[in-house]
């Protein structure tokens, strides 16, 4: 928090609007090079390279999907092993109880199921969704972020953030508009 803490609204950050994805990408890179780290870019569709421009290096989703596949596969095989060998063994002509080739289909299906379910839950959890309210929605123009406008938001939590200096910096990027993103009085969101 800056010095002007006594009264007035608290801010989530400052948001700049751009007209096309290439512009947003170029300006995001500039902001990163200027030292801003706590920021986010918004686009109606995935823009290739935007994550990199924001400095995002790690993506946890693939590991979660892998974990889901392993857990699902183990659960699938474990279920069949437990029921066919331990809980309900059926001796059919002396054939092995642990008939693993016949168990492969369900093992595979359960691996896929585990990967899919954990992947979707993991993606939503890492993204912090569901979160129907977020301060950026308080900007009226932000409605267009799902249509054809592109936004860059530098968060108040960034160590370099200063209402005046950051505004001047964003103005240099020649955006179509700059908006202050206010926090709600009761529901504060910082990331």
């Amino acid at each position: 928090m800056s010095a002007a803490e006594t009264s007035g609204p608290e801010y989530y950050g400052l948001m700049a609007e751009f007209d096309n994805p290439d512009d947003l990408l170029a300006k995001t890179k500039k902001a990163y090079n200027a030292g801003y780290r706590h920021m986010d870019a918004y686009a109606p569709f995935p823009v290739h390279g935007l994550g990199e421009a924001l400095g995002i290096k790690r993506n946890g989703v693939p590991y979660i999907v892998l974990l889901g596949a392993v857990l699902g596969g183990l659960a699938g095989y474990g279920l069949q092993y437990y029921t066919s060998v331990l809980a309900y063994p059926l001796n059919i002509g002396g054939r092995p109880l642990n008939s693993w080739p016949a168990f492969m289909v369900i093992t595979f299906e359960m691996a896929v199921l585990g990967a899919g379910i954990l992947g979707v839950v993991g993606m939503l959890a890492l993204n912090g969704l569901p979160k129907p309210y977020h301060p950026v929605f308080r900007v009226p123009r932000f409605e267009l972020a799902s249509r054809d406008k592109f936004f860059l938001c530098i968060m108040e939590s960034d160590p370099q953030f200063d209402m005046e200096k950051t505004r001047a910096f964003l103005e240099d990027l020649a955006p179509q508009g700059i908006y202050e993103v206010e926090q709600d009085a009761t529901t504060k969101v910082y990331d």
Binding site: T28, Y42, F45, N59, V105, G116, N127, P130, H134, D148
Partner: protein, 457 residues
């Protein structure tokens, strides 16, 4: 923000998106179908007809529950008749949706963008129609959960060496993954609907479904990683599902069922019938909502080629089946093949040959592939043929097994037909509700396509 197509030669048949579209124009056009356009008369008529069929479905189920499976023609030796034939038919239709959304995504086939959402929805509804059939067929459908492994007072567990137990896992996994894949793709578009909707109830409804999606680049990174991975796991899954369905037959010892070519030829047949259903549905739907500039003649040209290719694979499957029987020399197998061609049901088999082998030869010609009337008619013929194929496999094989003493004939009753056409009603009702309430073309992927096309120049 004009879209041009300089890599492609001019001419209507060659574009996958008509030029002149912007980010806003595609989004507006697709969401307006749901939000602003007055419900077209065609929708009301179509939905009404579907609702009548659906009512027939409900009545057929009520009759079935009240009187039991005796209302059908099923009887020894044909215990698996219409319910299983139609189950396999519906499952097959679902496969085209996953092929379009997952496999063509991995292969970077950009033309898939404007039809993948619709085809995925078709998959979901087809799987729903399919999944209900074996349950209805159980005789005591209220204890269908006995097939699921859960600790119970009988101290019994399902037999996991049985293809029927595999089938349960394959179909339920397929339904779950298809629904997840579809929903993950829908989230950003639901946010778009939330932002476009004017009515507060709609805004709230779409807002809740979008779960607060705000298009953050961090979210997109994870969303796209997941989308790619779901496509990657859905690809072997879709191949496995119809393979497992074919195991229901191929693992047995019955002549006409037990053959190793069954899994690949089932998968090819599934794609074949699924694409035919996509064509059947898209020809009227694009007209109804004026989407000719996004679902272009080029799409039908490509789908025609896929129909031809998979149809030829299916034909190869039939040939191999006959060849294996005669080359193997088992008297039961050889007899089954002669029985198919000359026996009591021979007219169905020859009709199947006409539908699946001869009619598709017209697809060699571009004039046919780009003529939507012909494509529509061909797609209906193909789906009839694919139903007959499953009839040939399921019913004809059962009527004519090893012992002449146990041979018998099957004839369907009116309740067989009413449940079958009724399931078409369930499918169409769901489909009409889908196009009325959700964006039937993926907006964000269309916008991405425009962006890609622009930055290539």
């Amino acid at each position: 923000m004009q879209l041009s197509h300089s890599q492609q030669p001019p001419g209507q048949a060659e574009v996958i998106l008509e030029p002149g579209h912007t980010y806003e124009s595609v989004g507006k056009k697709i969401s307006n179908v749901v939000l602003d356009v007055r419900t077209p008369l065609g929708w009301v008529v179509g939905f009404g007809a579907a609702a009548i069929l659906f009512t027939m479905y409900l009545i057929s189920i009520a009759v079935l529950f009240a009187w039991g499976t005796g209302v059908w023609g099923n009887n020894t030796p044909v215990a698996w008749a219409f319910p299983i034939v139609t189950f396999v038919w519906w499952i097959g239709i679902g496969h085209a949706g996953t092929l379009i959304s997952a496999i063509l995504f991995l292969l970077r086939q950009e033309w898939r963008t404007s039809i993948n959402r619709f085809a995925e929805a078709m998959t979901l509804f087809a799987v729903a129609c399919a999944g209900l059939y074996p349950i209805l067929h159980l005789g005591r459908p209220w204890v269908f959960y006995w097939i699921m492994p859960y600790p119970n007072t009988f101290g019994m567990w399902p037999q996991f060496r049985s293809a029927l137990a595999w089938d349960v896992f394959a179909i339920s996994t397929y339904a779950t993954i298809s629904a997840l894949f579809w929903f993950v793709g829908l989230i950003p578009d639901l946010a778009g609907m939330r932002d476009r909707a004017k009515h507060p109830v709609l805004k709230f409804g779409y807002g809740m479904l979008a779960m607060g999606w705000r298009g953050s680049a961090r979210h997109w990174e994870r969303h796209q990683a997941l989308y790619l991975l779901l496509a990657a796991i859905a690809t072997p899954l879709v191949v496995s599902v119809h393979t497992v369905v074919s195991f229901d037959f191929a693992i047995s010892q019955l002549p006409g069922w037990t053959t190793t070519v069954l899994p690949p030829y089932f998968v090819a047949g599934a794609v074949f019938s699924g694409f035919a259903m996509v064509v059947t549905l898209l020809v009227p739907m694009r007209k109804l909502y004026g989407l000719q500039d996004m679902i272009t003649v080029r799409h039908f040209d490509i789908m025609g080629k896929i129909l031809l290719t998979t149809g030829l694979i299916v034909g190869y499957g039939y040939t191999t089946e006959f060849f294996t029987a005669f080359y193997g020399g088992s008297v039961y197998e050889v007899d089954m093949m002669w029985y198919r061609l000359t026996g009591a049901y021979a007219p169905f088999v020859w009709a199947l040959a006409a539908c699946n082998l001869i009619s598709i030869q017209f697809l060699w010609f571009k004039k046919v592939r780009t003529n939507l009337w012909l494509m529509f008619i061909l797609s209906l013929i193909i789906n009839t043929g694919m139903w007959l194929e499953r009839f040939m496999i399921v019913v004809i094989s059962l009527t004519h097994d090893f012992l002449p003493a146990s041979w018998g004939l099957f004839s369907a009753t009116k309740w067989d037909f009413s449940l079958m056409f009724g399931s078409l009603g369930l499918f169409l009702v769901l489909l009409f509700l889908f196009v009325r309430t959700l964006p039937m073309i993926s907006v964000f992927e269309m916008q991405e396509l425009i962006h890609k096309t622009e930055s290539h120049h």
